[in-house]
């Protein structure tokens, strides 16, 4: 394999850095995320992986935009629908896939699985499988940053459905009264599991919920990298400079079903097609071509990313499983030996 951004030899921090100033690198990462999720879907279908998975096809622009705006020293809490975020923030496809396949090389040694990828180097906490659970934790990390006089920022990424759970409201309120350096990033992909937002929530414009916490809000087309970056830059900048929290609502769409078994029969006719027109990968590509990039070169980039991913899959499938003693690892007790620091 050539030393592309996919290579394990690139650290997650380096993989993050390339996104800030290079639109082609951002598109390449979006190809990677899309290709990763598509291949994962196929792998699950063959039974090569057990358990469940939650794909984020359609939500690539948001992940890449956030990664482009954040520093690796900032902290992110994300969800079980976390592969796109993990790849965008810098984790290698190999590390993410190894975790999903329960291999010992995975980010938690195969003990966590698809819902719990993480990378301490880039501030990605093990992703949260309980809806809403990441919001108070992000607020708490922001409290620590504020306390220490550090200009880092915490970001909680969560879905539209999570805005109906107590943790959302409690966290926004707490962050607002303490002016915490946190960004609440709602990935409004229209669905919570099998239910369209209108069936569970009286409003579809979730940024409006910020008003009751006197919190600034942004609403943005989450399928558009440029617009999403701009909104996130304002929110992150506000947090970094003592301006307190912001609720950012990114309008996206979940192209896949909720989880592996779900074919999304409940979608209204035409809805998927409407959003596919706005496909973030397609749009980012068109934007680059409009700016003078060669369409052929981008197509070549896309297929080389795909080929690299195929190679990663082969490599990861051959990796060893954890051994039985590994299930006893990293369970904190008061007598656990302190890690060297």
């Amino acid at each position: 394999m050539t030393d592309t951004a996919l290579s394990v030899s690139r650290s997650s921090v380096e993989r993050r850095k390339v996104l800030a100033d290079d639109a082609t690198a951002r598109l390449e990462r979006m190809f990677e995320i899309r290709g990763f999720e598509e291949r994962l879907n196929a792998l699950f279908a063959t039974g090569a992986i057990h358990g469940t998975t939650h794909l984020a096809m359609g939500q690539e622009a948001l992940a890449v935009s956030l990664a482009a705006e954040l520093r690796p020293t900032d902290l992110v809490t994300a969800t079980y629908r976390g592969h796109a975020m993990a790849l965008a923030l810098g984790m290698s496809p190999r590390a993410v896939l190894a975790e999903i396949m329960g291999k010992s090389e995975g980010s938690t040694g195969g003990l966590g699985g698809s819902m719990h990828v993480s990378d301490d180097d880039i501030g990605l906490l093990p992703t949260f499988a309980i809806v809403g659970a990441g919001l108070p934790v992000a607020a708490g990390a922001a409290l620590a940053f504020q306390y220490k006089g550090d200009d880092s920022v915490a970001v909680a990424v969560f879905g539209d459905g999570a805005t109906n759970i107590g943790a959302f409201h409690e966290s926004l309120n707490l962050a607002a009264i303490w002016k915490l350096p946190v960004v609440f990033l709602c990935d409004n992909n229209v669905y919570g599991e099998y239910s369209r937002i209108n069936l569970t929530t009286p409003i579809e414009d979730l940024h409006l919920r910020a008003a009751s916490y006197a919190m600034p809000a942004e609403v943005v087309d989450g399928m558009d990298v440029t617009a999403t970056r701009a909104a996130l830059a304002r929110a992150i900048g506000r947090a970094r400079t003592g301006g307190g929290p912001t609720l950012v609502e990114a309008k996206t769409y979940r192209f896949a079903g909720h989880s592996r078994a779900d074919t999304a029969p409940y979608r209204p006719a035409g809805e998927l097609e409407y959003w596919q027109e706005r496909d973030p990968v397609k749009r980012a590509r068109e934007e680059l071509v409009a700016g003078g990039a060669s369409a052929d070169e981008l197509a070549r980039l896309e297929s080389s990313v795909g080929a690299a991913l195929d190679e990663v899959i082969e490599v990861v499938q051959a990796l060893p499983d954890p051994v039985v003693t590994d299930m006893f690892n990293n369970i904190w007790t008061p007598t656990t030996r302190k890690a060297d620091s």
């Binding site: 057990h50 966590g112 999570a162 099998y194 239910s195 003693t325 006893f328």
Partner: protein, 335 residues
Amino acid sequence: MRFRQAIVAALEDEMEADPSVMVMGEDIAVAGGPFKTSEGLLDKFGPNRVRDTPISEMAFTGAGVGAAIAGLRPVIEIMFMEFLGVALDQLVTGAAKMHYLSKGQLSVPLTVRASVGSGTGFGSQHSQTLENWVTATPGLTVVTMSTPQNAYGILRAAIQSPGPTMVLEPRNLYAVRGEVQRGAAGLVELGKAEVVRQGTAVTIVTMGQLRTSVLEAVEASGIDAEIIDLITLAPWDRTTVLDSVAKTHRLVVVEEAPESGGWGSEIVAAVTRELFSSLSAAPFRITTPNVPVPYSRALESRYLPQPDEIARQLTQYQSTGTVPAPWWVLEGLSK
């Protein structure tokens, strides 16, 4: 029928029998439930009685408490037991205290169902059994199930109960098939254990998905064990268990939970206190190690006591009268 269909059948029969029974939960109506445990109910009973909720466990569990006090018999579905964490107050501190705090005036005929347990590859935040979240609460009945028949019977009994009942459903069993007798004859009495196999050599107390593993282990080892499936975990059936141990003089509890703090400790403590002088060996528990449920398929299958491990421990216990070490001690992996 399948286990999950037995649950649908219980809900259906209770809804037929009592118009105040209604069900609420995430994606339980239109989609028929994430595990298809309410399939067809919406069509049959309509949206007033079969309700999809937002992702708001605290609100709909608490609403279940209020609705129960005000005359309904709500059945709440908590998709994975872990999600009860955000609603526990409403059940443990709320529902379970109402009768007590009203001088017995109020009753809370609420049923909270949750899927529990390991074996399905959902990882450490979606595979716990967590009985001990709910078993230390006087006033709350806690039940579980192990066959399509007792799933049907105990769920109906829970819904009929005038008090709050927590129903723990082993998720790994939802696809299992078995005969189910519907109607009054299929009911299971709350608080009554099921003697699965009669025997004289040792009493084995278990429940949930481990019942099958215990049966397998007993058959493989040829030990004349009496197997008791608790079904109701709180308050558990002391009479059946104590009578059995009085006869066998030995007790083993096989449970799906980390060794520390598991429900089996309660059984061992009670048996020790009541029957100490008649015991021919120390009672003990076969449990999971003190670890979160690991995701990797290779490890998850090892986490749960397997039939061969149960058989090994039983055989040693029976032949030596000493308490065997669990596999992780034998292999030097943990204490």
